[in-house]
């Protein structure tokens, strides 16, 4: 025989045929309050995470569908960037979760990085070549970026000076 069990507040009358389980009113109150009014920040985080995943889906979809060799998440980044330009009000709702995720970005590289124990076998004997390529290329990249940016900034400043007539 199946028993009907009802959770009722202590001051309520029993319905005939239903086993009463009496619980303190205070407990009932706080449990229903929790059900009706979920913590607001939980939702904000979930919504932000859902937005990020949605834009990743769009990005992956475009990347696969249009056969673009650009990775899906990068296209998702651009789409989200474009969306924020159109709707700047969305920034405040996504930003806390996005920044929280980015604060732990370094951690996310560890699983792939450990893959070096498998990849190392395939690049054995190439260590010197890789090290030289890395050092030369990074040094040149810092130098070229700095020199070109500075030269263009100085040119822009000179032009600005020519275009704005002197006050005197």
């Amino acid at each position: 025989m199946a028993a009907l069990v009802a959770l009722v507040p202590a001051d309520q009358d029993a319905t005939p045929g239903v086993t009463r389980v009496i619980i303190p009113k205070s407990l009932l109150h706080c449990s229903t309050a929790w059900l009706v009014k979920p913590h607001p920040t939980n939702h904000a985080m979930l919504r932000a995470l859902a937005t990020l995943l949605l834009f990743q889906c769009f990005g992956e979809g475009l990347s696969m569908g249009l056969h673009v060799p650009v990775p899906g998440p990068v296209i998702g980044l651009l789409l989200l960037f474009g969306y924020l330009l159109i709707r700047p009000s969305a920034v405040d709702s996504i930003e806390p979760t996005a920044l929280e995720l980015l604060r732990h970005l370094s951690l996310l590289f560890v699983p792939a990085g450990v893959g070096i124990m498998v990849a190392a076998d395939r690049v054995r004997g190439e260590g010197l070549a890789i090290a030289v390529a890395l050092v030369v290329s990074t040094t040149l990249a810092i130098a070229v970026t700095a020199l070109v940016t500075r030269a263009l900034m100085r040119r822009q400043m000179r032009r600005a000076r020519v275009n704005t007539p002197s006050e005197l």
């Binding site: 990020l52 990743q56 990005g59 060799p69 650009v70 990775p71 899906g72 998440p73 990068v74 980044l77 989200l80 960037f81 920034v91 930003e95 996005a98 920044l99 995720l101 980015l102 970005l105 370094s106 951690l107 996310l108 590289f109 560890v110 699983p111 792939a112 990085g113 450990v114 893959g115 070096i116 124990m117 498998v118 990849a119 395939r122 690049v123 190439e126 070549a129 890789i130 030289v132 390529a133 890395l134 050092v135 030369v136 290329s137 990074t138 040149l140 990249a141 810092i142 130098a143 070229v144 970026t145 700095a146 020199l147 070109v148 940016t149 500075r150 263009l152 900034m153 040119r155 822009q156």
Partner: protein, 242 residues
Amino acid sequence: MTQLGALWVYLAATPLLGLTMTLFAYLIAHGIYARARFNPIANPVLIAVALVVAVLSMTHTPYQTYFQGAQFVHFLLGPATVALALPLYRQLPKLRRAAVPLAGGLIAGSLTAIISATVVAIMFGVPHVTVISLAPKSATTPIAMAIAERLGGLPSLTAVLVICTGVFGAVSARTILNVLRIEEPEVRGFALGVASHGIGTARAFQVSDEMGAFAGLGMGLNGLFTAFVVPVLLPMILRWVN
């Protein structure tokens, strides 16, 4: 001892252990990094990777078994890449003010990074898979790994190379920029961000907030630029070599 071994084998087969190990290794590594006063040489990712590799090889646990658990952390790289849109959006006013110089510096620096790395590697005669893994090394790690994976490189090799690039850039940038007599903090920061992504950006923030902001801008722009240029440029370079 054999019981302990059996327990390890049991736990290692569940995703739980890989996940736990990843988090603890990172927390320990970050503690060491903080102890070293955030010196870029004590990079927490490199230390955490070394710790996990040491445990896995001592216990003869294959990488695939470890990755079954660690993949839950790895998966978050996708949404984290999308999330980079927010800091980039915040940098927009800075970008607008100096759009032409920054765009020029970005294109010149990014192309230099990609072409010089691939050409040097090819001159040493390394196989194409290594060249592909090396090409996006100045981009931020999640983007660089995605590019390497997409073009047939080894994403795990790319992850380590990207981090080494960041560490080298962060350690050597001061000397390089001083030799060239670059004094403007925004130019110094931008160059650091373009050439050595997040690790360079973290280094720039240690010097000043202004330098850090421009480094962050350089990192974001170069990540995007590399993602669009390497898939086009790299096949051209490899075809030209053959």
